[in-house]
Symmetry: C2
Subunit: 346 residues, 2 copies
Amino acid sequence: MTLSVATPNAPLDAAFVQPDEAEFSTWLGEHLQRIEAALERFVVPQAPADLQGLVQAMQYAVLGGGKRLRGLLVLAAQQAVVSEAGPLGASAQEAAIRAASAVELIHAYSLVHDDMPCMDNDVLRRGKPTVHVQFGEARALLAGDAMQALAFELLTQEQGSALPDSDHAGVPVDTAAPVVPPIVQARLCRLLAQASGPAGMAGGQAIDLDHVGKSMTQQQLQRMHELKTGALLKGSVLMGAYCLPGVAPQTIAALAEYGQALGLAFQVVDDILDATADSATLGKTAGKDEADNKPTYVSTMGVEAARQFARQLQQQACAALANSGLPHERCMALHGLANLVINRSY
Amino acid sequence: MTLSVATPNAPLDAAFVQPDEAEFSTWLGEHLQRIEAALERFVVPQAPADLQGLVQAMQYAVLGGGKRLRGLLVLAAQQAVVSEAGPLGASAQEAAIRAASAVELIHAYSLVHDDMPCMDNDVLRRGKPTVHVQFGEARALLAGDAMQALAFELLTQEQGSALPDSDHAGVPVDTAAPVVPPIVQARLCRLLAQASGPAGMAGGQAIDLDHVGKSMTQQQLQRMHELKTGALLKGSVLMGAYCLPGVAPQTIAALAEYGQALGLAFQVVDDILDATADSATLGKTAGKDEADNKPTYVSTMGVEAARQFARQLQQQACAALANSGLPHERCMALHGLANLVINRSY
């Protein structure tokens, strides 16, 4: 799977701030690889025999696929706030790769549960059979639950405690890894919990569920998406920004605004793609929204107005970065990701 | 519902260390009330209108019922390691009530998912219709997911960050509450994640699933239960012990041993009750294990040997407390809870 800023299926040509394509493309390739490698290291590669069944379903759900947009946002935001080498930089990088893996685990678990028969009842995801089709519903349910817990485990590290941890079959304790300050660990856990809980992703999914076959105002639609997909996207940006303690409040606020606009833009483009692309390109069933009679930005405002709205949101995201006080070159990846979100073809 | 050490249905008379019954009974009543009040405060009492549907299912699942054994273990262990008043005591108490609520949320979510048609397909829990019967499967799934996230949110607190949190619809920010040190917050998150993830509760459930209709050695059975129920029970004890930073390693190790033995004892008694009590007493369907052809301590060793094994485990738990170096009077509640686990009738 390539994720370069290639000719999209339906180009939105929103080149408001066009980062150097080659530079961003290199960044993207390197950081996708870092995320994949981290997930392979973290998602229980040496599980004991009696946990293999569960772990296989988890690995199937999270490894080897996906845009990794959430993880990339963590890494890009972390790099925007800290460029230093040395212990400070190493600790922030360790926090960021753990956070990137954690948000990908949360996203992947939400897809596993969302695809189940009692929810969207979907059979195709990332071009493969969905987890419950492959492993059965009970195992899909448990794998999702376990992935959520593992996400929070990743965000924390042993702190030389007396806890007998050596026989623990979860994430291996890597004593050589830099230690993330506990205040950062705790904050990352809080941000992830808020982004994925009742006032975040799970809440948005519940609102979605309540409105199948019903009409929604654009305000209600926006609120639903701010929770359902926006919270974790914005949360990913904030988690990246909080990988270092002591970042200035106005920087955090600017990055929050970037994350908010980008999260909404992502959903608007998602709705456009669902209405205009085919299943093979998307790697999941296209046209689901209309078939399920779900309100979307396309059904509410039409395709053209939705495209324009997405471009506006990208401009808003980029303006937030420009006003953040962060050096422009450190925001290269954040600009590139905003561009990618708008111009993606799946 | 009374939870005093009343005449059990099938008395196990294991009075190895019998705490003062009246003193423990008072402690129990007070602390059950504290947990109920905390859960009412934490489980999103002021959710916005569009989240009411989800939040009602969460509240239905966790409020007003249950033995609260896990929450009580947190509070009892915290009190065993710190008796001081003052800021240190207040912070440890705040950590403990949050941890007690968090473990109850995790336990409750696991029951919601476990009762679903694709898992145990049960319709009765705590004497009421199960969550999916009452609210539908999709909402039950989401409510469980949201409860897990909320558990981790409870374990963390705002730390005067610039994060715009005031519009957050989750746990209200209580600026008057004592601040738990970040190192404690991070440790509690780690312990809870480990206890409930692939190498804990979720892993145990997966092993259980793999062995329906198959025979198991006693060793395999024990390993399954150590994960499925033991990990969260032991985790609750450890979380209580870690509510204060700097507790001596040998104290932690002793409490871990207590938690390990108590966790296993709980499961052995569970198997005995499933085989010998009726549904009305249990508040859930009795005789499920045999009907589902599941291996249990009763099917493996018979009722009498299982009773004796439970008593041995209680003795082991009490011996660990005696060797912990903690003053006997501070372990009153832990002794009482071990006694309760063995002599419970549901």
